[in-house]
């Protein structure tokens, strides 16, 4: 746990979300958002115990291959086809403190851009040795890593000729339900990033750049797999200066 006082878990409310940094709900160039975006203002609420707390998952739930997408769906002795990569990084909070015990779940298309999902109709072939999902839990320093193949770009019915850049979806649990986050990781140098209407829902270029994982040459394993580094920042917690004051903080 992220400890500050006598090893006890922190219980402060989370920093307010900067909703000018996140994508707004209504982003018409991403067409599905038009009918799925609330039109009324959100009701603001300082975090109560219902949002400050959240489920925390133990490492014991993980299977041996949960963070190895090259092998976790493959037949014995076989492996997924594609560019072998390692994705690794740290989960931090806005104060720069490590978030240990964070559950990360990821999913992606195969090397040809094809998802293993019955609603997917793209003509690129499935890889019989690739399922497309994995998970891991950060260690005491907030560190995680997993092995996969680099996903391909794929077309989608939005504009006439819209293609998603290569990306991996991430779902992250911190220590409080208010930190719950789903995002997408993109790859350094991909020219498709700047054409994508989903990337374009994010108003601030710096926020987009924070989603682009650089090629990490230092951690590339010779004759095996290249590495990409992707750090994730969750909401920080307010210090609980006067937590026990009967009249409240």
């Amino acid at each position: 746990m992220s400890n500050r006082d006598n090893g006890r878990p922190e219980t402060g409310a989370f920093f307010p979300r900067d909703r000018g940094w996140h994508p707004p709900a209504f982003t018409p160039s991403y067409k599905t958002s038009v009918l799925r975006s609330p039109q009324k203002a959100l009701l603001s609420l300082d975090g109560t115990i219902s949002e400050i707390t959240g489920p925390v998952f133990g490492h014991s739930m993980l299977g041996e291959l949960d963070n190895d997408l090259i092998h976790n769906f493959a037949k014995p002795g076989e492996s997924a086809i594609g560019e072998r990569i390692i994705v690794h990084g740290r989960v931090l909070d806005e104060r720069g403190r490590a978030v240990p015990g964070a559950l990360l779940e990821f999913w992606q298309a195969n090397a040809g851009g094809r998802y293993r999902h019955k609603k997917e109709s793209y003509l690129a072939a499935l890889d019989p040795n690739f399922g497309g999902c994995g998970r891991t839990i950060t260690d005491e320093n907030g560190y995680y890593c997993f092995r996969t193949i680099k996903p391909g770009p794929y077309p989608w019915p939005n504009g006439v000729n819209d293609w998603r850049p290569a990306h991996i979806h991430f779902s992250i649990f911190g220590h409080g339900f208010a930190q719950r986050l789903i995002t997408q990781m993109y790859f350094e140098g991909d020219p498709m990033i700047w054409k994508c209407p989903i990337v374009g829902t994010i108003p601030d270029r710096r926020a987009i750049e924070q989603l682009i994982a650089p090629l990490d040459w230092a951690n590339t394993i010779p004759m095996d797999a290249r590495a990409y580094k992707f750090d994730i920042v969750l909401r920080g917690r307010r210090s609980t200066f006067f937590e026990n004051r009967p009249e409240g903080n």
């Binding site: 006890r8 878990p9 920093f15 307010p16 979300r17 940094w21 996140h22 994508p23 991403y30 958002s33 038009v34 009918l35 799925r36 975006s37 609330p38 009324k40 959100l42 009701l43 603001s44 609420l45 300082d46 109560t48 115990i49 219902s50 949002e51 707390t53 959240g54 489920p55 925390v56 291959l65 769906f73 909070d93 806005e94 779940e105 999913w107 998802y115 293993r116 999902h117 019955k118 609603k119 399922g131 999902c133 998970r135 979806h169 779902s171 220590h175 409080g176 208010a178 719950r180 986050l181 789903i182 997408q184 829902t201 994010i202 926020a207 924070q210 920042v233 969750l234 920080g236 409240g248």
Partner: protein, 204 residues
């Protein structure tokens, strides 16, 4: 100039997309064998304390059509009003209750179902009690940032009337969007993303 506060920026959200089930409920979407079971599919067991309830509902778009590709997560206190979380300092929650559930809206009918227990009341920081409630988080294709809301119970009118959150809703008729329908033990909670019946969503 002054000192730099030095805070990092939160990683920006992106939509979960239409294939969120591959990652979060792979068994549900026909990818067996990677995980034993889908995470969050069972919240209770035989030993869980409290009144068993079932919560079903749909997530409905601005054209009145239920989403069949949404994913809903809930988080709640146990029957005694304690959260199964390391940040819970008021006591120890029921070890046979996770407090957290995850359910896709069904591919056929767009319905989500949670088998859980009715939560106890929990206080806000000044000590006032909130009415029993379940926190909801909704993601889907077309939703750029996960939506937080709460479900309250229709058979708790007195507690609901003094709930600090419900009392803050300026347009009183909108408070009703957070109160489930149905009767114990089967509650119905439809979430309207947009339009006349739009659910109150929270910035928490």
């Amino acid at each position: 100039m002054v000192q730099d506060l030095g805070y990092l920026k939160e990683t920006a959200s992106q939509t979960a997309g239409p294939y969120v089930h591959i990652g979060l409920t792979p068994n549900f979407c026909g990818i067996p064998g990677i995980y034993e079971s889908d995470l969050g599919s069972a919240m209770v067991n035989d030993k869980t304390r409290g009144e068993r309830v079932t919560v079903t509902g749909r997530v409905i778009d601005g054209a009145g059509v239920p989403l069949k590709d949404a994913l809903v997560e809930i988080w709640q206190a146990d029957a005694a009003g304690l959260y199964n979380s390391p940040s819970e300092r008021r006591g120890t929650a029921d070890p046979n209750f996770t407090g957290w559930g995850r359910c896709p809206t069904g591919a056929e009918d767009g319905v989500f179902t949670f088998k859980t227990v009715k939560p106890g009341r929990v206080p806000v920081s000044d000590g006032r009690l909130m009415a029993p409630h379940i926190t909801f988080w909704i993601v889907a294709r077309g939703i750029n940032l996960g939506l937080h809301t709460r479900m309250y119970f229709p058979d708790e009118p007195a507690a609901n009337a003094e709930d600090p959150l419900l009392c803050r809703i300026e347009h009183r008729h909108r408070a009703e969007t957070l109160v489930a329908g149905g009767t114990a033990p089967n509650y119905l909670f439809d979430i309207h993303l947009q339009g006349e019946k739009e659910t109150v969503f929270l910035d928490i």
